[in-house]
Symmetry: C2
Subunit: 216 residues, 2 copies
Amino acid sequence: MLARVSTNPAFKRLPRAVREQQMLDAAVKVFSRRGYHAASMDEIAEDAGISKPMVYAYLGPKEDLFVACLHRECTRMIEAIAGAAAPDLPPDERLWRGLRAFFGFVGAHRDGWSVLYRQTRGEPPFAGQLATMRARMVEVIAGMLDDALRAQGREVRETDLEVIAYALVGASESLADWLADNPTADPEKTATRMMNVAWLGAGQLIEGAVWRPADG
Amino acid sequence: MLARVSTNPAFKRLPRAVREQQMLDAAVKVFSRRGYHAASMDEIAEDAGISKPMVYAYLGPKEDLFVACLHRECTRMIEAIAGAAAPDLPPDERLWRGLRAFFGFVGAHRDGWSVLYRQTRGEPPFAGQLATMRARMVEVIAGMLDDALRAQGREVRETDLEVIAYALVGASESLADWLADNPTADPEKTATRMMNVAWLGAGQLIEGAVWRPADG
């Protein structure tokens, strides 16, 4: 009797975690499509196939739901970047793969980027959340730079690494905005451009230097 | 009779342009101190020494006043950068002086940076204004890069220049946020760090290369 499972879909019970992911999937979709202010909890509930009170019960009011979306999407993005930039690769390949993963993510979620990361940058309840995720991203990049330096027996003050990482994150965000605004722009090409600026710098670019991936 | 000027200060008439600048000075000060939402038109009028109806008459409601502040401060900043980066200098000196002017400006107006440029990045009526000013800044940088390339008899597609410029602007904004958050950080040192990332790139930085200004 313990293993008895109802075959009536109305009675199908999903684990809480699965339900939550369904709601977040629907919420990310609706927020991306409508923007934060115009998105309605009704549409999110309908898209998730779950009653509205249930959405509130699981994830709270719209503001909390949005923060949960922001948190999940940022985490996914950082995981995609960190996963692509495997530590056994040379530093330029790590940076390149990280950038390719980042712009690939943004390119695949242009609307989501605009709503989740861009429009909320200045809005008080969300800006703080975004700043926290940004600080995590800065740590990931600073850690990659630190690895590269240590491999050469060199060390740089933590503040300097942090500052370089902030510059790289800011440059990438700015190009991500550009990518989101240019629907025909190619994410991989954008990543290549960013890689050239980030790795070679303006000095070498003006001289005509070009960075190319080992497999390209 | 035509040259008769009242000596009673209550009757002193200032040209409209001067009055407007006084109001904008007061508004920038109050917005920077209180933030957009908490700033009151009463305090702005009092600080400017002008009646509140007069402030409304000249510059409109708070939202319009804020846009006028944003516009004036951005214009001042872009002028400071473009003025510092004189066209007869070598490209690295131009970039360096432009960056020094930028971080000098931000360092001298940390509160203003936070309120005017940062907190409004996502807020609909202001975000558009900011995006316009940002596009002007991108044009300035892209123009500088174009000059440097032409001086070498080289040419690069406009999109590529634009993308590099967006990356540089994004990196600088990100470090400006960092500078605004770190009241003890030195603007000139921040400019030097940004210059090293922007000019040399991560590749040369990891190798231990350092860029130094000709006069330092």
